[in-house]
C-alpha cells in the first residue's frame, strides 16, 4: 500500500516538474520571440514584413472560405436557436446581450481557435520540426540570420492577427446568418440586432474577447514551434511529438477560455 502511494507521489512529482519545465520553457520562448520581433529594428525589416504578410495569407486568408461557411452555419444554429428560445420566453429585448455573451465571449474565440489549432498549429509544428531536422534553422544561423526574426516571429504574429480578424469576422457573419433565420419569426431588421449587440457590449466583454483571442492566437503557434524545436531525431519521432504538441496546445486553449471567463 505504502509502495503504491510512494509511486503515486513520485509520478505526481515528475508530472508537476515536467509541466513546470514546459511552462517555463514556453514562457521564455515566447519572450524571446517578442524580444526578437519588437525590441529591435527588425519589425521594419522588409524581409520580415514580407514573411509576415505571407504567413497571414497562409494562416488567415486561405481560411476565409471555410470561415464564411462555418460562420453562416453556426450563426444559423447558435444565433437562430438562441433567439428562438428567447422569443419563446418572451425575452426578445435580451437578444443583444445574449448574443454578446455567446458570440463575443465564447463562440468566436472557441470556434476560430479550434479551426486554427486543426489547421495552423499542426502545419506550424510539422513545418518547423522538418526545418529543424533538415538543419535549415542552423543554416540560417550560419548565414547570420536569426530564426526567431524570420521564422518564428512572422508565424506567431500572423497567427495572432489572423485569430483576431477571423474571430471578428465570425461574429459579424454569425449575426447575419442568424438573422436570416430570425427574420422569418421576428419583426426586426439586421441593423436593430446589430445595434442591440453593440449597445450591450461592455468593457469586460471586449477585454475578455481581446485577451482570449490574442493569447490563444499567440500560443497556438508558439507552443507547437517550441515543441518542434525539441525534435531532432527522425521523421517518426516528429509524428510522436506532434501528439505531444497538440495536447499541450489543447490544454492551454481550454485553460485560457476557462480562466479568462472566471476572471472577467
Amino acid at each position: 500500500m505504502l509502495l503504491h502511494f510512494n509511486r503515486f507521489i513520485g509520478a505526481l512529482g515528475r508530472s508537476i516538474i515536467n509541466i513546470s519545465d514546459v511552462l517555463i520553457g514556453v514562457t521564455k520562448f515566447s519572450f524571446n520571440i517578442l524580444r526578437a520581433g519588437f525590441l529591435s529594428r527588425n519589425l521594419f525589416n522588409p524581409v520580415v514584413l514580407t514573411l509576415i504578410t505571407r504567413q497571414i495569407y497562409y494562416t488567415g486568408v486561405e481560411l476565409f472560405v471555410t470561415m464564411t461557411i462555418t460562420s453562416i452555419l453556426l450563426g444559423l444554429a447558435i444565433v437562430g436557436g438562441l433567439s428562438k428560445l428567447l422569443i419563446i420566453f418572451g425575452a426578445t429585448a435580451s437578444i443583444g446581450s445574449a448574443l454578446t455573451i455567446v458570440l463575443v465571449r465564447t463562440a468566436a474565440p472557441f470556434i476560430v481557435g479550434l479551426l486554427l489549432i486543426f489547421r495552423t498549429s499542426t502545419g506550424m509544428f510539422v513545418d518547423v520540426a522538418m526545418m529543424n531536422l533538415n538543419k535549415e534553422l542552423t543554416a540560417l544561423e550560419n548565414m547570420g540570420i536569426d530564426p526567431y526574426k524570420v521564422i518564428f516571429f512572422p508565424r506567431v504574429i500572423a497567427s495572432v492577427l489572423s485569430m483576431f480578424i477571423l474571430s471578428s469576422y465570425f461574429i459579424v457573419i454569425s449575426i447575419i446568418g442568424g438573422f436570416m433565420l430570425l427574420s422569418f419569426q421576428l419583426n426586426t431588421t439586421l441593423l436593430v440586432i446589430g445595434q442591440q449587440v453593440i449597445s450591450s457590449l461592455n468593457i469586460q466583454d471586449i477585454l475578455s474577447f481581446l485577451i482570449k483571442v490574442l493569447t490563444i492566437g499567440f500560443m497556438i503557434t508558439a507552443i507547437p514551434i517550441y515543441t518542434a524545436l525539441d525534435e531532432k531525431r527522425s521523421e517518426l519521432d516528429i509524428l510522436k511529438s506532434l501528439n505531444k504538441a497538440m495536447i499541450r496546445v489543447f490544454y492551454y486553449f481550454v485553460a485560457v477560455l476557462v480562466i479568462v471567463e472566471f476572471m472577467l
Binding site: N45, P46, V47, L49, T50, D127, M130, M131, N134, K135, E136, T138, A139, L140, N142, M143, G144, I145, K149, V150
Partner: protein
Amino acid sequence: MSRYVIAIENMSAARDILRYVTDNMLFSDCGVVSDTMPLIASLTVMDNIALPKSYHDRISLSKLEPLVYNLMVSYGIQNLIYYHKKSLSSYEIMLVKILRSLLMQPENILFYMPHDMIHAEDYNRFIDVLDKIENTSVVVVEHTKYVKEFTVKDFKEIGFNQWQTLVTKV
C-alpha cells in the same frame, strides 16, 4: 581571383574546417556551399537566393528579384526561379547555393565536400561552373582522391592553415 583546393584525408579534419569557417567568418565575407547549409524548403529558389542579402542589407525581396534573375540567367537556371527545393536536382540545388553565396558578394566562397553534394555524372559540370565565378576567391575542401580534378583546372593545392593565413591578411 585565386582558386585553392584543400585536400582532406579524414572527415573530422574537414568538419573542423567547416566549423571554423561558420563560427568565425561572416557569410558576407565567406560564402559557404555545403550540405550543412541546406536551402529552405518552404521558400522558392528566388527567395532562397535573396534571403541573406535581403535580411542583412534590409532590401525587400521584390526589389532584389531583377538582380537574382540576372544572376540566374548567367548560370542558365532562370526557369527555376519560382521552384521549390523538392523540384530541383542535386546539381540545381548546388547552383542555387552558389548563387545564394555570390549575391552577398563575399571575398571568398568555400565549397565543402562538393563530391558529396551532387551525382558523379554532374561533377565535371560543377567544376566547369566554377570558371564562371568572378571577383571571388574559390576554395574547395575536398577528399584527397578528387583533388587532381581541381589541380588540372589551375586550382592551387594548399593546406587549410595556409588559406586561413591568407584570408586573415585580406
